[in-house]
Amino acid sequence: MSADGAAFISCCCIICSNPSAGYILRAVVRDFEGAAVTMADDKWTESVRSVKGVILDMCGVLYDSGEGGGVPIEGSVEAVKRLKASDLQLRFCTNETQATREKFVAKLCRMGFEINVSEVFPPAPAVVSVLKQRNLRPHLLVHDDVVPEFDGVDKSNPNCVVIGDAADNFSYENMNAAFRVLIGLEKPVLFSMGRGRYYKETDGLKLDVGVYMKALEYACDVEAEVVGKPAPMFFQTVLNDMGLQPHEVFMIGDDLVNDVGGAQQCGMKGLQVRTGKYRPSDERHPTVTADGYVDNLAAAVDAILKHRCP
């Protein structure tokens, strides 16, 4: 930050990881306030003008979870209102598995967010759908509060295991019970609701479901089926609901690999926010480069709406 407020360039000469984009050399210019804006301004303007929908990650973008259910991130409530007031389609895509969809949305409404259940896409309903399709009976290793999502599912004599973000339920005994179900099956099937490494709570970073997925994969020599971000089918379900093509949609998230990278793999643009589980090393990731890095959701919405016709 020089005295005359001039910008400095941090350069990344990487071929964008988005296979369908084909553009190269994205240099990021930081203005003296620290907000990142793409250098190729006309490219950014062009993408923003053609965008018809936005998908938002929730934890780490709208709010930080923790004691008392969570705390909204500054500016996020207003940012959601602004998106809803615009002509853009809006959906929420989350790997939240610590509550049923209804309770989770109710919690967010209490924080001031204007969100409907029908706009929210978490993994549990998707897993239930898959279990029913394939006649599978699950052994659940999940948070107590998401168990009701599986009420309509036969859980007797399990022939598969479903894990979610179980937090304190990830005890050794519970992990062992899940392991024993899998190791005893001729064809072990393991569903993991997401594969995140960690998430942020108000009292620090905490291990996410992906860690325990890897543990069971290693123990049983099996590969988990991921339901939730970054599985392409999960994003596709949301796109189908919006009736939009991937290139018409921006995904905004705090998880570089699962939100941004996952969205880019499907052909969407991915914006990384510097809230939630973001760490500065995310901007030097070996394989994923976001289409833009913004301080928070409010800044992302500013950047998007600025170039759109009123």
Binding site: Y198, L207, K214
Partner: protein, 238 residues
């Protein structure tokens, strides 16, 4: 038991050096030795080399202060090592510590740069009530969480076998490993240049001999048969 003792006597006549190696992390060397003595094995404490000793040696070498995720009964092998304000994480077989709170604590240290030392990465072990998760799955999970790799000190790492052989004054090619775990005992030893004999006791399951490449030099029903094989076929005539 008589047959076993007889084989050991034969052994000393052939001037063969012996080391007893184990990945056990649930008890310190002293209590392990006492337990073997109670079972009537005639073994000296210095003939035992454990993965806990290997871990301690690494901690001293790196001059770090560990958060020890090991059973209380194993702590004696780390006596004298500073553990306050930890800047390293050591993981052994410690079901009591594999809860969410403790693993989060370990995770945060590693994310901040603390090296992760795994005593071994066994996937599971046999308990009275069935199979149970070993430390391997939790180490793998933490490696994934932090995008780092653990330094593994126990079997099947080459360093473990080489260190076990160090004071026996013999090269790996002059040594034979007898074990019940195809991957960790036999595979690891053969990878170091030793010969490996798989015994069909303990955690052996049918078909294990086909799971490693190259296959075991030999597969025997049990330890006494393995010893007989060595005495009859592998030793140079005196």
């Amino acid at each position: 038991m008589t047959q076993l003792s007889f084989s050991l006597i034969d052994w000393s006549w052939h001037l063969v050096a012996v080391k007893f190696v184990t990945n056990t992390t649930k008890e310190c060397k002293r209590t392990l030795h006492e337990r073997l003595l109670r079972l009537k094995f005639d073994i000296e404490e210095q003939e035992i080399f454990t993965s806990l000793t290997a871990a301690r040696n690494l901690l001293v070498q790196k001059a770090v202060r560990p958060l020890l995720l090991v059973e209380d009964s194993a702590l004696e092998d780390f006596a004298g090592i500073e553990t306050s304000d930890p800047n390293a994480v050591v993981i052994g077989l410690a079901p009591d510590h594999f809860n969410y709170q403790m693993l989060n604590k370990a995770f945060r240290l590693i994310l901040d740069g603390a090296p992760l030392i795994a005593i071994h990465k066994a996937r599971f072990y046999k308990r009275k009530d069935g199979l149970a998760l070993g430390p391997g799955p939790f180490v793998t999970g933490l490696e994934y969480a932090t995008d780092t790799q653990a330094a593994v000190v126990g079997k099947p790492e080459k360093t473990f076998f080489l260190e076990a052989l160090r004071d026996l004054n013999c090269s790996p090619e002059e040594a034979v490993m007898i074990g019940d775990d195809a991957r960790d005992d036999v595979g690891g030893a053969q990878n170091t240049g030793m010969l490996g004999i798989l015994v069909k006791t303990g955690k052996y399951r049918a078909g294990d001999e086909g799971k490693i490449n190259p296959p075991p030099h030999g597969t025997c029903d049990s330890f006494p048969e393995a010893v007989d094989h060595i005495l009859q076929h592998l030793l140079e005539p005196k």
